[in-house]
């Protein structure tokens, strides 16, 4: 027998012998392995599923916490609050009281809006704005006002503050009747339109020697678009302007640290970068910020109207003021002019 044959013979024999003596339960082994594989798969899937929520949360917080200087969420809060100060006369948000709820890639903003009528501040409504990333839905507005503005401004209806070059509608005479009929013991919020545009510093002079005794709350700025009533696309525009706070809160850009007109120009320029968001939140369907900022850069800030507040008898006196062209009555509250 050759070496070769012997070699194969030995291998063959020992293998057979080994296999005969090997006693393994193949079913059991397969079952165990399959079971273990199944468990592993389930655990891995479970781990992945469990990771989804934290990952999304983390990404969302990262998204809202970064970018745009102070974080995207803060920027959107700033935009919303600025838009309201600029486009809703005598209405403001207390930014410290604002609530935001951050969900997966979305944010829900909830805040109250306030008006000053007389010497006191009144809560006049609430806003609810849902954001998807940095894009807001139309806000859910809930205002409790006796004389609210139109929800959506129409072009054939006159604005509450009228540009000197636009004719005052006939029915505005009735507003003086309202002022005449209001009892003396009330305070009134009134929208004044001036006969001419004037510098912000001159606004106080229309009321020399503080007689009548009224306070300016908000100034409407001539941005060149008010005399046309509509923008390029024929959408009606609403007045834009800035508030004057006697005792300014620390979150507003109009905190008297610099001239309010400078703050106004800066805020408007900043809003231009977030025009789509700002337009959604504003009442008007267009803000035409491009046109407006250009006009202000060329012509400076000119005031053509204002929101004032004061006791009813003082407001009545404005009828004889040469600078006041027309008036529209806003909210009326019980006496608080202490």
């Amino acid at each position: 027998m050759s070496d070769d044959q012997n070699y194969w013979k030995i291998i063959d024999r020992s293998k057979k012998q080994f296999d005969q003596n090997t006693n393994i339960d193949s079913n059991k082994i397969l079952k165990k392995s399959r079971h273990k594989a199944l468990t592993t798969n389930i655990l891995i899937s479970l781990a992945i599923l469990l990771m989804i929520v934290p990952t999304l949360t983390l990404l969302t917080y990262f998204y809202y916490g970064t970018g745009d200087g102070n974080g995207r969420a803060n920027k959107q809060i700033e935009v919303a609050s600025n838009v309201i100060e600029l486009t809703e006369p005598n209405m403001y948000v207390k930014r410290m009281e604002l609530e935001e709820q951050i969900d997966f890639f979305s944010m829900d903003l909830n805040f109250d809006v306030y008006k000053r009528i007389g010497k006191e501040e009144y809560r006049v409504g609430e806003y609810d704005i849902n954001y998807m990333l940095d894009q807001p839905d139309f806000p859910d507005r809930n205002l409790w006002l006796d004389r609210p503005h139109q929800e959506i401004p129409q072009k054939d209806e006159a604005s509450y503050i009228i540009h000197p070059l636009v004719s005052v509608p006939y029915e505005y005479d009735r507003e003086w009747d309202i002022v005449e009929s209001i009892p003396d013991g009330t305070v009134v919020e009134a929208y004044l339109s001036f006969t001419d545009s004037m510098d912000p510093d001159d606004v106080k002079d229309i009321n020399p020697g503080l007689d009548p005794d009224i306070e300016f709350l908000w100034l409407a700025v001539d941005t060149g678009i008010e005399k046309k009533v509509v923008d390029d696309q024929g959408l009606p525009v609403t007045p834009i302007g800035y508030p004057i706070y006697k005792d300014p809160p620390n979150w507003t850009p109009f905190d008297n640290r610099e001239d309010n007109e400078v703050a106004f120009t800066n805020t408007l320029n900043d809003l231009e970068h977030y025009e789509s968001q700002a337009t959604k939140i504003a009442r008007a369907k267009t803000l035409a910020l491009d046109e407006r900022t250009d006009y202000i850069q060329e012509n400076g800030v000119k005031i053509y109207g204002a929101v004032v507040t004061g006791p009813a008898p003082e407001i009545r006196k404005l009828k004889n003021n040469d600078h006041v062209r027309s008036l529209k009555v806003g909210e009326v509250k019980l006496w608080n002019w202490h």
């Binding site: 070699y7 082994i29 392995s33």
Partner: protein
């Protein structure tokens, strides 16, 4: 044919292969189980044409991983102790009955150089083709062949010597 049935066909081969590598029944059994566990985990991702070669490859990797793990985790003395315990748990009769000849053969193969060992185990003991075996050992076919021939030659000499002694 069901996948499990195919697995069952090769189970003895795999067991023998892992025993040849580890020289230990318990390890071999554990590793067979581990091999099939890996096979179940990975199968859906692969398009396997040659199940036997693939299973051997998986088994080999399982063995390598296991060796590494044990090297890291268990100090040598403990292994020795474990081995002693394992052996003592087997009665002498069992040891005799249990594949004396195969065990001797394996001992002899393990005296070869590692690469020669593996080549002989794959090709001669488990009938894999040169290509399959070369792939498992991650060698090109020529160097695999030279490993195999040298290993086989040495083994044959050893077997002859023993036969002469026995006679």
């Amino acid at each position: 044919m069901e996948l499990d049935d195919i697995y069952k066909i090769y189970m003895y081969d795999l067991y023998r292969y892992l025993f040849s590598l580890s020289k230990n029944h318990h390890t071999a059994e554990d590793l067979v189980q581990e091999t099939f566990y890996r096979a179940y985990l990975n199968l859906p991702e692969q398009n396997i044409t040659n199940i036997k070669a693939w299973l051997f490859k998986v088994a080999y990797h399982t063995f390598i991983d296991d060796t590494r793990k044990n090297k890291k985790q268990v100090p040598k003395e403990e292994i020795e102790q474990l081995k002693e315990k394992e052996y003592s748990a087997w009665t002498p009769e069992e040891q005799v009955l249990q594949n004396e000849e195969f065990q001797q053969l394996i001992e002899m193969i393990h005296q070869l150089r590692p690469k020669h060992q593996h080549a002989v185990i794959l090709c001669d003991l488990h009938e894999l083709t040169y290509e399959e075996a070369a792939q498992i050992m991650e060698l090109n076919i020529n160097s695999f062949k030279s490993n195999l021939y040298r290993g086989r030659q040495t083994l044959m000499n050893k077997l002859n010597k023993r036969r002469v002694q026995d006679e």
